[in-house]
């Protein structure tokens, strides 16, 4: 479905653009120094939002737990690493993922629960001829709706036709994967 492709392309473009456009949060960089236990001082972790050039033991470890002569020995054992992240990227990604997941779940609920109910009310019980093994499956009425379609080529009908074609394909796939178990993993 090209609309799915367009939606994906659009969201990817948004994502990449947002990544570049959002200003760098000052909280997104840090220097993390891990200092192991030394004599009777416990191990400690120090973090500060400094840039790369200040990322060393002397700038970050505050307050220094040892006195003048031991500072060098203490700092030799500490390891300082500069890290950065993009909090905006994380936020955008998670929210986008949750919204796509939510949309898919809503569509799934609509397809499996609401649509059969609506179609039944619209077309009446007598006109639906469902085969036995289709009962309870999603997209069970794919073949039936086609026969009720009008022949006017307007947009709604085209969308309906495309959707029915897609449903038939999914049904075929489902038969081969779930019923005949032919897909290796």
């Amino acid at each position: 479905m090209k609309s799915v492709f367009l939606l994906e392309a659009f969201s990817v473009a948004c994502f990449v653009l947002l990544n570049q456009v959002t200003a760098k949060n000052s909280e997104d960089i840090r220097c993390k120094c891990i200092c192991p236990p030394y004599r009777d001082i416990e191990g400690q972790i120090y973090k500060q939002n400094v840039s790369l050039k200040d990322c060393n033991c002397l700038h970050v470890v505050e307050p220094m737990p040892v006195d003048g002569k031991d500072v060098e020995a203490y700092c030799l054992r500490c390891e300082c690493k500069f890290e950065e992240r993009s909090s905006a990227t994380i936020k955008v990604t998670i929210i986008m993922y949750l919204s796509i997941l939510g949309l898919l779940l809503l569509y799934m609920v609509y397809l499996t629960l609401l649509e059969p109910m609506l179609k039944r009310r619209l077309f009446g019980h007598s006109q639906l001829i469902q085969s036995d093994d289709d009962v309870g499956q999603p997209f069970a009425n794919a073949h039936n709706v086609l026969s009720h379609s009008h022949s006017r080529p307007n947009m709604l009908n085209k969308v309906e036709h495309a959707q029915q074609r897609w449903r038939r394909q999914v049904q075929e796939q489902r038969k081969s994967v779930f019923d005949r178990h032919v897909v290796l993993s």
Binding site: I45, K47, R77, E79, E83, V170, H181, V182, V183
Partner: protein, 738 residues
């Protein structure tokens, strides 16, 4: 697109309103396309591409515009690679970030910003301590959030309960989405991609819905704590991206052979983003997945893999510019005597592989034949429940498998404070960080050892049942986890043995007291590598009905390699109800003498021939050319759109010039373009090994057999496979599934 769909196409005017919505119309299949679940003809695709290229090159001399068009055509390959790399990298970054967050969601939530995972939440906090690097007040476990108590039995039970509930919810959503929207999104996808790349057609397997659902459900499946990885599905996702961008350029969308070159490169990009290793991706594509891999594809794959890796780095999901999944640095060299435990780990890898293959195949057979296969959703929920219930108590299985592997690979320096690195330190030690002398293990290490042993058994057993369920699942990470755990246990054992028994002969030359000599992390890596190689073998050997593989004869092995991808993999080959088997002739002949459209239609309607040979005349039977079975009905049905005035009583001709007809006759139909004037022929005395070789090396789909200059019959690829199956004492009828 099956012929059934052709018949039911609604009649819509080609000049109807709304060209924008034309993509909603059913695409009419072109002459020269292939049916679903059939193989492509590599020779034909290659010659079509050469023709196209020659046409463009000759036209480029005409005008500047044509020259620009020819340049664009040459560049289109690189543009496609760039797009594939960008999209694969982006999707992999999204998947990584989402998995990170959702895995932690099972245990707690970040109060300041709900979209942060545990590590991200505590990123700026100053309350982290050396021993509890992950604890910070901004991130709370569920029990603490709901009841206010952080410790205690009640909190533990509540955490346990919520962990299991979240895991069940994630896996239920994953399997429902797969079932409703895209059933092809289940499994890892690598065997089917191998088949597609070797020339097979599986429509819908690399479609847009499959791409969307695979991405979304992969996150859910991995986050639910099941024993599976995301590397295999990432290859599928990347190949779907490749297929998507192929449709933008007619050079790739119309030519199945060229499309497969793009898909090979896309597979390389997939592995590249999974592990952060572009060269590894290219090698994987070259060795494992591809069937036809010219030198040009090597460079394009590398380009796609690089672009994908750089895009992933730009998104920076790991937060510290770390791109490679497992980044390790070892400072101690290894010694020759360590080869003995390494060999032991290799043997363990082989044993694990055999055990896994046999057990998984038996379980899959049960799934296929008994009631278990009728309830896929329930099966997923049950396995997830069992996994979550058993995994929560052990801290090594509670966390995600990638984190476990990272910790096991990690060398224990002074900066580590995990249980695994709880060695007894000499308090007066003043060595620099990297040079840690050998130390006796503290109680934490022994604790970790038995927990790891339990984790090993658990992972071995549960992976057998997890693999094969109807959700996206990969096998790389669970295998590596099993190997890493085994390797680390062996490494710690050797290390402690070396410490306590310096005077033994093997340790005397190599381990000086006070110096570091054994790196358990290295053993973990060796173990992981040993176990990674094994479980992928069933894709090469097992037949689609999952038989036990019989020992192959050596002489046949070479022949199998080329076509084994067809044979071994995809059970998606449907039963060939369309072709007559057995005794009925598979072809009929048409003559060069003019026939009428309606006669041809009668011929097609009554029978379902695979191909038609065209001869000069019925009497001489001198062979002229070959028409594919599928092309003839398509060409006839499509003709009303192309040439006006063609009706049922029109004359059909295969020659270059139209036959002389009185002007009252309707327009004749020229079908020369569907005639293959140079089909491959062998004689009936050609030995079968040569024939198999020809099929394998040239990628033929069918080959004509002549005797004394006259056409005797036709051999198709499936006939060759059936013959090979008979040679191997397998049931030749099962090849119908190939």
């Amino acid at each position: 697109i099956s012929p059934a769909e052709l018949a039911s196409t609604p009649t819509e005017e080609p000049n109807g309103s709304g060209h924008l919505m034309d993509f909603l119309d059913e695409p009419f299949p072109d002459v020269g396309t292939y049916e679903d679940f059939h193989t492509i003809d590599w020779l034909r695709e290659k010659s079509r591409d050469t023709d196209r290229h020659r046409k463009i090159t000759s036209k480029s001399k005409e005008s500047l515009w044509e020259l620009i068009k020819s340049l664009l055509d040459a560049w289109s390959g690189w543009v496609v690679m760039l797009l594939i790399g960008l999209l694969s990298g982006t999707l992999a970054g999204v998947i990584d970030l989402a998995v990170d967050w959702m895995t932690d969601l099972k245990e707690g939530v970040c109060l300041t910003a709900f979209w942060y995972s545990h590590e991200q939440c505590c990123w700026t906090s100053n309350e982290t301590t050396f021993d509890d690097r992950d604890k910070c007040p901004q991130w709370q476990k569920w029990a603490e959030l709901m009841t206010g108590h952080a410790e205690g039995a009640g909190a533990y039970v509540l955490n346990y309960l919520l962990y299991v509930m979240w895991a069940l919810l994630f896996s239920f959503l994953a399997v429902s989405l797969v079932r409703v929207f895209a059933p092809y999104a289940c499994g890892s996808g690598i065997p089917e991609i191998k088949t597609i790349l070797s020339g097979f057609i599986i429509r819908g397997y690399l479609g847009k819905w499959t791409l969307l659902i695979k991405t979304v459900t992969l996150v859910l499946a991995v986050s639910s704590g099941l024993s599976l990885g995301k590397e295999g599905p990432l290859v599928h996702v990347a190949c779907c991206c490749g297929n998507l961008f192929c449709s933008l350029f007619s050079k790739y969308s119309k030519n199945e052979g060229k499309r497969r070159e793009v898909l090979s490169a896309a597979a390389a990009a997939g592995v590249s983003v999974a592990f952060g290793a572009p060269i590894g991706g290219v090698l994987f594509s070259l060795e494992e997945v591809s069937y036809y891999f010219p030198l040009k594809t090597l460079w394009r794959s590398f380009f796609a893999a690089l672009v994908a890796a750089f895009t992933l780095r730009a998104i920076n999901p790991f937060g510290n510019s770390r791109l490679v999944l497992f980044y390790v640095e070892y400072h101690t060299p290894w010694y020759m005597a360590e080869l003995v435990p390494f060999i032991l780990l290799g043997v363990f890898g082989g044993l694990w592989g055999t055990l896994f293959i046999r057990a998984n195949i038996a379980w899959c057979r049960r799934r296929k034949t008994t009631l278990l296969g009728k309830y896929p959703v329930l099966e997923v929920i049950a396995v997830t429940g069992i996994t979550a219930v058993l995994a929560f108590p052990n801290p090594y299985t509670r966390r995600s498998t990638s984190e476990l592997i990272s910790e096991l690979f990690n060398d224990c320096g002074a900066l580590e404070s995990s249980q695994l690195c709880d060695y007894v330190n000499n308090p007066n030690m003043s060595r620099p960080v990297d040079d840690i002398p050998d130390r006796p293990a503290g109680p934490g290490v022994y604790n970790a050892l038995w927990q790891l042993a339990l984790a090993l058994v658990f992972k071995i057993v549960i992976t057998i049942f997890t693999f094969g369920m109807k959700i996206p699942s990969g096998l790389f990470i669970p295998s590596m986890a099993v190997g890493a755990i085994a390797g680390r246990i062996v490494g710690i054992a050797v290390e402690q043995m070396a410490y306590h028994h310096h005077d033994w002969l093997i340790f005397k030359n190599w381990c000086r007291p006070g110096a570091d000599c054994v790196t358990p992390g290295l053993y973990a890596m060796v173990g992981a590598a040993a176990c990674l190689g094994e479980p992928r073998r069933p894709q090469k050997r097992s037949s689609p009905l999952l038989r036990q593989s019989r020992p192959e004869k050596r002489s046949r092995k070479k022949g199998l390699n080329g076509t084994s991808r067809e044979e071994s993999t995809p059970p998606t080959l449907a039963t060939d109800e369309r072709g007559p088997r057995g005794k009925a002739p598979l072809w009929a002949f048409l003559t060069q003498d003019p026939t009428r459209v309606e006669e041809l239609e009668a011929l097609i309607k009554d029978t379902d021939y695979k191909g038609f040979r065209v001869v000069i005349s019925r009497e001489s039977e001198r062979f002229m050319g070959f028409v594919q079975g599928r092309d003839l009905p398509l060409a006839i049905r499509k003709s009303p759109f192309k040439q006006d005035g063609v009706v049922s009583s029109s004359v059909v001709y295969f020659t270059e010039d139209a036959p002389l007809l009185p002007p009252t006759n309707p327009q004749p139909l020229k079908l020369r373009r569907i005639l293959n004037l140079s089909p491959f022929t062998v004689t009936d005395h050609t030995p079968m090994e040569t024939v198999v070789d020809i099929f394998r090396k040239l990628g033929l789909r069918q080959c004509l057999v002549t005797r004394s200059g006259r056409l005797l019959g036709i051999i198709t690829k499936k006939d060759v496979l059936r013959h090979m199956a008979q040679m191997m004492n397998q049931d030749p009828e099962s090849i119908m599934f190939n």
